[in-house]
């Protein structure tokens, strides 16, 4: 076999470089690259949380007339997740808190409420303006009094195990709420009835619907899509 001289080697490099690049397209990166990409994603989360995010900055509020004609909704179950007629529902609030509690819809509706018309940003790239009504998450936090250990909030649902983890600052943001009404009407099953998380400062996939549990925790929870590679922070 003839040995490759330097010139041949260069030629090989010139051909192999672009060929490797072309072969790389449409490919997910393999396990090694995947873990590197995941680390970069965590770095971006850190920058997003600590540099690009202000807990005081409010999302633009629109007049109700600016509402979009449709507000696409989705769930991961095969059918719209609903509660049985006789099935009692209450939001369990616990974890690293001094006073864990369980709140029925009536109890939540008696707490201070907020209403705002804001723009929804989906990770896919579309937007939609809608009006949401509910109780600010910070109000519920005041009820249960998170301990100093609490750094994150985990949200669980009855939509086939869908869940999310949030940074505390975003959870306590004045526009983050537990919503029970959409466009002035009670929340319907396609939008997460009876209760969903809503905030204009996160992408749609962070806004857990069909809530069952809210847990303050010291360890960072993952999330249904986040575990598959979506940015964990999802802050916008």
């Amino acid at each position: 076999m003839a040995s490759l001289d330097r010139r041949d080697f260069l030629r090989l490099g010139i051909v192999a470089g672009p060929a490797a690049l072309v072969a790389g397209c449409g490919w997910d990166g393999g396990p090694l690259v995947k873990s590197k990409l995941a680390s970069m994603s965590r770095l971006n989360d850190w920058v997003g949380e600590n540099i690009l995010q202000s807990s005081k900055r409010l999302a633009t509020v629109y007049p109700p007339s600016a509402r979009s004609g449709t507000m696409p909704g989705y769930f991961i179950s095969r059918q719209v997740p609903t509660l049985g007629i006789a099935q009692p529902w209450a939001l369990e609030v616990g974890g690293d808190v001094k006073a864990p509690t369980s709140l029925t819809l009536e109890m939540l509706q008696q707490l201070p409420r907020v209403t705002y018309t804001v723009k929804h940003h989906c990770v896919e790239g579309w937007t939609a303006v809608a009006t949401w009504t509910g109780v600010p998450l910070s109000v519920v936090a005041d009820l249960v009094q998170p301990t100093e250990r609490a750094r994150y909030v985990r949200f669980d649902s009855f939509d086939n195990g869908y869940y999310n983890g949030w940074d505390m600052a975003s959870a306590m943001h004045p526009q983050t709420m537990l919503a029970y009404a959409f466009n002035d009407r009670p929340l319907m099953p396609d939008h997460g009835a009876p209760l969903r998380l809503y905030s204009p400062i996160k992408l749609g996939y962070k806004l857990t619907k069909y809530l069952t549990k809210m847990t303050f925790t010291s360890t960072r929870p993952g999330g249904y899509w986040e575990d598959q590679g979506y940015p964990w922070l999802g802050g916008i």
């Binding site: 990409l37 202000s54 979009s68 004609g69 449709t70 790239g125 579309w126 937007t127 940015p231």
Partner: protein, 226 residues
């Protein structure tokens, strides 16, 4: 063929060559992962009300061979990871131009308009002799100023759609989230158009400029240009 009388001259600093090729690779990855992300919503605006902007790729799925990431999450990971080296090489190059004063040879000014027209006439063979020039002719200056501005606009529109609430001032500068996303997409086609002209000019007008971007040494028709 006789030995060329053209002297061998030093043309490109190592930092310029390094950032040039790094940028070529990173930008390819940015565009490929961007086309993957576009596939998740192949329109502009909201779901039911589209922006009244021209988009020949409305509803179009780009072939797998030009996409990077496999699916939306993979595309996003690549895009947000490569954004770092893209910005880093861009700033390094810009810093080099400022530190060495070389930006003067690249910035297109109003006084370059007339020589640019003369140069265009020369390329169209409507003018016989090559107009006098410095390191770069006026058309090249226009192209390089344009590409730097395009790079800056790509990064800024990128941030505008990455953080439309936290950086809302930037997002509104580009006409809001939906339009900023559109300009970010338009930039892709301008980059591709630039690359075609850039590579075409190298191959047709001055082939010796290609090895000079690799080795730093230029040996060709225009040794006086720098």
């Amino acid at each position: 063929m006789t030995e060329s009388p053209n002297p061998r001259v030093r043309r490109h600093h190592g930092l310029v060559r390094l950032t040039h090729w790094l940028n070529a690779i990173v930008l390819t990855g940015m565009i490929a992962s961007g086309l993957q992300i576009y596939g998740a919503f192949r329109h502009f605006g909201s779901k039911e009300a589209q922006l009244p902007v021209p988009n020949p790729f409305d509803g179009y799925t780009f072939p797998e061979a030009v996409r990077l990431g496999g699916w939306l999450a993979g595309g996003l990971q690549w895009h947000f990871a490569l954004a770092w080296p893209l910005v880093f090489t861009g700033l390094t190059y810009l810093g080099f131009l400022i530190a060495t004063g070389q930006w003067r040879e690249l910035l297109f000014r109003p006084s370059d308009v007339k020589p640019a027209i003369e140069m265009q006439l020369y390329y169209l063979r409507l003018r016989k002799e090559h107009p006098p020039q410095g390191k770069h002719n006026a058309l090249q200056k226009g192209a390089y100023t344009f590409i730097m501005a395009l790079g800056a606009i790509s990064v800024l529109t990128g941030f505008a759609i990455y953080k439309p609430v936290q950086l809302s001032w930037l997002t509104s500068l580009f006409g809001g989230f939906e339009l900023a996303r559109y300009w970010h997409f338009v930039a892709v086609w301008l980059f591709i158009a630039f690359t075609l002209v850039h590579v075409g000019a190298v191959l047709l007008a001055d082939r010796a400029s290609l090895p000079s971007m690799i080795t730093g040494w230029y040996k060709g028709k225009f040794p006086s240009h720098g």
